[in-house]
């Protein structure tokens, strides 16, 4: 075990995978000389050279599309978008191209590429740099959508993403980058589509993504002191979705909250809530609850931003509301 930051864990996953497979090439803005805007590729330029760690111009559609071409011809590009908000500039290449080419070709080809992108609010970055794009991309078949929680999870899931032969959207939470976590000395790839029960409980289940896993655990600890026993599930991947683990948990607890930082409408909470209604209707003791960013653009001022970020407190209150 060692203590490293979430950013370092990403770095290590990239490094270990690049060392293993020379077909892995990194593309992105400011990833080489300065090691990435969030310092997730420090030292890789020096080690792997500038054809494998490529600083791109500010041309997201262009370099994501280039990644698609690289993936079709034998490479395994790992692309960094500096903020997940910029997916919108490259959306056609991600959703109309990468996600669909295998299907449109009748299975002739794979598109083994990873797009890494930071999500989340909390830095007063305002409406164009604070979004969480995991719900939007989940609408479209053909993509795998990963929302890692801790540094350990991020490292293991990123390895899986890089080895996967499908286009993977890998969302890192920008508020976690500088936090320290305990991480195993050797981290193996973590399989996709298998949610992780990180805390057992019996009164209510929270299924959470990304940093909301840690926030849910924190809320659960507080709630335990008040006699409420909370089960927390780290969803890990939205696509594929491990609904079975959630169903099992709900059969036990009878109550469910879905916590995801994307906007509420047509979000991950709606999808999981709907599926639980289909698959565990008669076990539910109450309607499923959700904790999201409300349907407003992210405001700049901390006086406005903090109240709407899904927080430990908001999760705590939602549990109390549903359990009491």
């Amino acid at each position: 075990m060692k203590e490293i930051t979430y950013a370092q864990a990403i770095c290590e996953a990239l490094d270990e995978e690049m060392e293993r497979d020379e077909n892995i090439v990194l593309l992105g803005e400011d990833i080489s000389f300065i090691g990435g805007n969030f310092k997730t590729s420090v030292g890789l330029l020096e080690k792997y050279g500038d054809m494998r760690v490529k600083d791109t111009p500010i041309s997201e559609a262009g370099f994501v599309g280039m990644g698609v071409g690289m993936a079709l011809t034998g490479l395994r590009p790992v692309i960094e978008l500096m903020f997940s908000d910029f997916l919108l500039v490259a959306a056609d290449q991600v959703i109309n191209q990468a996600a669909k080419i295998r299907y449109m070709s009748g299975g002739q080809v794979n598109v083994p590429m990873v797009i890494r992108a930071p999500i989340g609010a909390g830095r007063s970055s305002a409406a164009q740099h604070s979004q969480s794009m995991q719900a939007m991309v989940s609408q479209f078949p053909g993509l795998i959508v990963v929302v890692p929680s801790t540094a350990q999870e991020a490292k293991g899931l990123l390895k899986t993403a890089i080895r996967d032969n499908n286009p993977v959207l890998f969302f890192e939470h920008k508020m976690e980058y500088n936090k320290k976590f305990l991480v195993d000395d050797v981290v193996e790839p973590i399989p996709f589509g298998k949610a992780n029960v990180v805390r057992e409980g019996k009164d209510i289940t929270i299924v959470a993504t990304s940093s909301l896993v840690m926030k849910s655990q924190e809320a659960a600890e507080k709630l335990e002191k008040e006699g409420i026993s909370v089960e927390v599930i780290d969803l890990r991947t939205i696509v594929p979705l491990d609904i079975d683990t959630v169903v099992e948990s709900v059969k036990k607890t009878g109550k469910l909250i879905v916590a995801d930082e994307a906007h509420e409408r047509c979000g991950v909470g709606a999808e999981i809530g709907f599926q639980i209604m289909e698959k565990a209707f008669y076990y539910l003791d109450a309607p499923v609850g959700r904790v999201n960013t409300p349907n407003v653009p992210l405001p700049f001022s901390p006086a406005l931003e903090f109240p709407i970020i899904p927080s430990v407190d908001r999760i705590y209150k939602k549990v109390v509301e549903m359990v009491k």
Partner: protein, 325 residues
Amino acid sequence: MNVKTYSKDQLLAWYETMYKMRRFEEEVFEFYKQGLMPGLAHLYMGEEAVATGVCAALNDSDFIGSTHRGHGHLIARGADIKRMMAEILGKVDGYCRGKGGSMHIMAMDKGILGANGIVGGGIPIATGAAYMAKYKKTGQVAVSFFGDGASNEGTFHESINMAAAWDLPVIYVLENNLYGISVDIRDVTNTPNLADRAIGYGIPGVIVDGMDVTEVYEAAKAAIERARSGAGPTLIECKTYRWQGHHVGDPATYRKRKSETEKEDWMAKCPIDCLKAEMLSTKKAKASDFEAIETAVNKEIEESVNFAKESPYPDVSEVFHDIYV
């Protein structure tokens, strides 16, 4: 037309390729008229010299990226016309097992990175193949075909800029057929020669007569050599024209806005007829040489039509295959 420099075999091979494209699409058009073809198709008729000249200068292991108007590119790369035909009819023996159709035919075994339904969508993809070739030092090059209309998409700009900055082995072949659907390129740019855009990226921009296969071949050959040598990309603008409307069934009423005889003037430059006439008049070949080719091609086309018609539709279970590996 510079037929002198080339051997009879070479010239006849080009003739054969162009003739095959033309015949192929005549049958596609028939499919449409007979209501046999699902969806639409965008015919390349009239532009055959472009794909033929460019692909003749490529090695077998090189890559091309195609467009919605892709039949010609694919045939020039030697794609199996039986499987193309079957794909166009949505049959299981098609290149994409019926999932792609005319606008999405892909043939990775021929280095064909796919046709693309998104205008400009294929330009960065071909550029990525060139990045691979450069990094892996494979000596391959990639050709990106696209239209005048596509040259106004942001991906054109972004891709060429990166290729120029990093000397990627890619050739951008701009098929300027004057229109993007009904929109006259002259009404939506201020650039009489789109090849001039190359200047802004510090790469060569070449204008060629896209109706003359020899001229296209020469420009492509030079650009490909340049790319393979590590000197970077070239933009080749081929001036050309499509005989048919934007897609089968488009009456193309918009053509007469600038000139009543626009279509007829261009048809007089038919790349196939002109090559034949030039070879005959310079005695490079005899009428019987062409007849032999035409007969053989017609037979092949007939076979491919029958193959496609007889091929079954995919089973409905296929809907859920091929999304993820």
